[in-house]
């Protein structure tokens, strides 16, 4: 399966990329890691007239602290997120999730910007972004804006990105002391996209929950932060009974799309199991 012909552009600075994008969008597309776009091009499901290669914009690959936030450049590869001590310290959920993406070779190339822009309903990084309340910096020629993750994912493979916009960086709120995080997913085979994934952070003080953040991915077109449910957690005792209650409630409240191969009922059952396991793990880590 050979891709259709395209014009190749290789900007050396972000301004060049933005200029090219402004000129050629929407037929022109950006390529970063290519792990999602290239297969679609080889199958001729995607046929951009121009391909703007971002891989020389190494200034967009970084992980750094920005006050209360951890800022990650859009071109940062999954492998770096998985292994970076900075990420493990300040955003352990992100590190855990990145470790589960695809396979070793895929993690060398795939980027966080690419994953977020691609917005696969089952992908790990969109789920983490939504669960933690991340914010994305979007840039176009002559302008930029910040968008909350909650407002970024609109539908399956559809985001708030305009055709002439690109993601520049993503900021995740830093983990607080007394907070633990856990990421659990269920797939058919190791490295496959998740049928359902659960992301949880819990902050406790003296065994009592201070803050719960909970997200479920893969169940519907976009990752879901179960904010209402999370809101009921404050002041609760972080014990096994509470974990089970949250897991049951999550399974009931989460939106689930029906699918010929994977019944909605099954996704709800997976939600309950995975939320229970993720939250259970996080609570156990805090006790230890």
């Amino acid at each position: 399966m050979k891709p259709a012909a395209f014009q190749y552009l290789r900007p050396v600075a972000i301004e060049d990329a933005l200029r090219q994008l402004a000129r050629f969008a929407p037929e022109g597309k950006l390529i970063a890691g290519g792990q999602s776009l290239a297969p679609m091009m080889n199958m001729r499901l995607a046929r951009p007239a121009q391909l703007i290669d971002l891989n020389d914009l190494t200034e967009l690959a970084y992980v750094k602290e920005a006050g209360e936030w951890l800022r990650v450049g859009a071109l940062t590869r999954h492998q770096r997120l998985a292994a970076s001590p900075l990420v493990q310290r300040h955003c352990p959920l992100l590190a855990q999730a990145a470790q589960t993406i695809g396979h070793y070779a895929i993690r060398q190339r795939g980027t966080i910007g690419g994953s977020l822009a691609h917005a696969d309903p089952a992908a790990q990084l969109p789920l983490v972004a939504v669960t933690l309340g991340a914010r994305l910096q979007l840039r176009r020629q002559g302008g930029e804006r910040t968008v909350d993750a909650a407002d970024f994912f609109l539908s399956a493979m559809t985001t708030a990105l305009a055709a002439d916009e690109m993601i520049e960086w993503i900021e995740f709120p830093k983990a607080r002391p007394g907070e633990a995080a856990a990421f659990r997913l269920f797939n058919r085979r190791h490295g496959d996209y998740a049928l359902v994934a659960a992301a949880a952070t819990v902050e406790c003080e003296g065994g009592t929950v201070q803050r719960l953040r909970l997200g479920v991915g893969g169940a519907a077109a976009v990752p879901q932060a179960l904010r209402a449910l999370a809101g009921t957690a404050r002041g609760r005792l972080a014990d096994d009974g509470w974990v089970a209650e949250v897991a049951q409630a999550a399974a009931r409240q989460v939106d689930v799309d029906e699918d010929a191969r994977v019944p909605a009922q099954y996704r709800r059952e997976l939600t309950q199991v995975l939320v229970g396991r993720a939250l259970g793990r996080a609570v156990a880590d805090l006790r230890a």
């Binding site: 290789r10 792990q35 080889n42 070779a105 895929i106 190791h190």
Partner: protein, 159 residues
């Protein structure tokens, strides 16, 4: 349709050829560079047979356009060991019967030449995790895992 001049640095040599931007790295290596050891199994990034090293890291050549690789260093299977002098990993695969038809083998060798440099003492789970990105239809993987452990041990000894 418009061909352009592309120069790739492969196994330490510069190779110049004309090709369209859409030409896949896997095809360019095989046809324009005359290096047929990199195999094509799926062209959508799942089977791992086309894995090469780019700047020392494993990359699926079928998901890369050759033109993207200008300015980078590509290593293919042809740079690993040679007749009568196999690399420790190749030698280990030979000893443990870690290959049958051989079609997936170069992709596995390239993946693990890199993996073992970064992970000199991997456990079985880690090995299988890294190997899960390479499909093999012949061996059932067991002897490949054994080879990687054996190679890792020998490399540690030699270090």
């Amino acid at each position: 349709m418009d061909q352009q001049s592309i120069t790739l640095t492969v196994n330490g040599r510069n190779i110049e050829f004309a090709a369209e931007p859409r030409k896949l790295l896997s095809d360019a290596l095989r046809e324009d560079c005359g290096l047929t050891g990199t195999h094509v199994g799926c062209e959508h990034g799942v089977c791992g047979a086309c894995t090469v090293l780019v700047d020392g890291q494993p990359v699926r050549a079928c998901l890369t356009f050759a033109v993207q690789m200008e300015g980078h260093e590509i290593s293919t299977i042809e740079s690993i060991g040679e007749h009568g002098a196999l690399s420790p990993l190749q030698q280990a695969l030979h000893e443990t019967h870690g290959l049958q038809c051989g079609f997936c083998t170069p992709g596995i060798v390239m993946t693990f030449e890199a993996f073992l440099r970064a992970n000199p003492d991997p456990g079985e789970d880690e090995i299988r995790d890294a190997l899960s990105g390479n499909l093999c239809r012949c061996t059932g993987y067991q002897n490949i895992v054994a080879a990687i452990r054996l190679a890792a041990a020998r490399l540690r000894e030699a270090a």
